[in-house]
Subunit: 181 residues, 2 copies
């Protein structure tokens, strides 16, 4: 596992899909997150079901995927996608230490928009107490990457079908100010 | 659950994060997919671990998330994201019927690029036999959506901090032709 690449994927993407096993079966929820050194901090109202269980030390899998391109081959069979994906396994631990929660808040806000934590009002002690967050070590993680063009069968290369890659990227548009801002 | 909205999210997004419970714990893998009526067809080399178990009728959760914007509030605490998310629960069933696999191939290719299935070489019988695919009913699904600007506390509204939404969108770039295409 290439730790530099793992960090790069986690730092570039914005949403983790976090899976855990609930009483009725597997559940996967999107969560915001931030990386600090070799820990992933997961956070989000959407993930409350998970966060409520996390105090018990529940096994989770957090997967982060960047879609880099659509790979159009000459044959339907060889169509594919270019992507970079990080998969992190581990036991989720609820974060309760105020200093750690404060560091997490900084990392979360800067992950959305670099430098933002220096501008926004920092969390109060009350807000920190209301924050549900879990920490996941990056010790058990893997990275998968696909790059490049389509891999067609030799006998398909002469087909009169356009083949190639359509690059994809998450783009940020023009900021929309909140009224009164 | 709004079925029109569920369909719209599944048709717009390109990757599902599919969770299942392996012997060592929960696993979440990104997979390509296509929707046909009220079924989700999941497919992908990355998901082989899952697909190999799917013949046994394994419980899965397939989650699809579209990130629509970064919500920057005046306080760190109220930072958020705008998103549309579909969560589908069910028992994965391995697809083996050639006609259904053929229909799935069409849907998968057209999902990547509308109309593409009419151009690409269709799958051979041998390729269909080599295709690992699972079907998931949309009967048990939920949709979650966040839209709009930040929701700051009243006492923070006068802070000299820019607040608003940075829209985000997966954009397709200029196609890159494969050599020989």
């Amino acid at each position: 596992m290439d730790r530099t690449q793992l960090h790069a994927i986690l730092d570039e993407a914005l949403i983790a899909h976090v899976g855990f096993t609930a009483s009725h079966g597997p559940v996967v929820l999107p969560m915001t997150y931030a990386r600090i050194d070799d820990a992933l901090y997961l956070h989000g109202a959407i993930g409350n079901d998970l966060l409520r269980h996390a105090a018990d030390g529940v096994d989770v899998c957090a997967t982060v995927t960047l879609l880099d391109g659509l790979v159009l081959a000459r044959s339907a069979f060889h169509h594919s996608m270019n992507y970079r994906c990080a998969v992190v396994f581990g036991r989720a631990e609820r974060v309760t230490d105020p200093a750690e929660l404060r560091a997490m808040s900084v990392a979360l806000v800067d992950h959305l928009s670099p430098g933002r934590s220096a501008e926004a009002r920092p969390p109060t002690a009350e807000e920190l107490r209301a924050t549900l967050a879990i920490r996941l070590s990056l010790d058990e993680a893997s990275v998968k990457v696909r790059t490049g063009g389509p891999v067609d069968d030799a006998e398909d290369l002469a087909l009169p079908v356009w083949a190639g890659v359509i690059p994809t990227e998450l783009r940020r548009g023009e900021p929309i100010a909140d009224p009164g801002s």
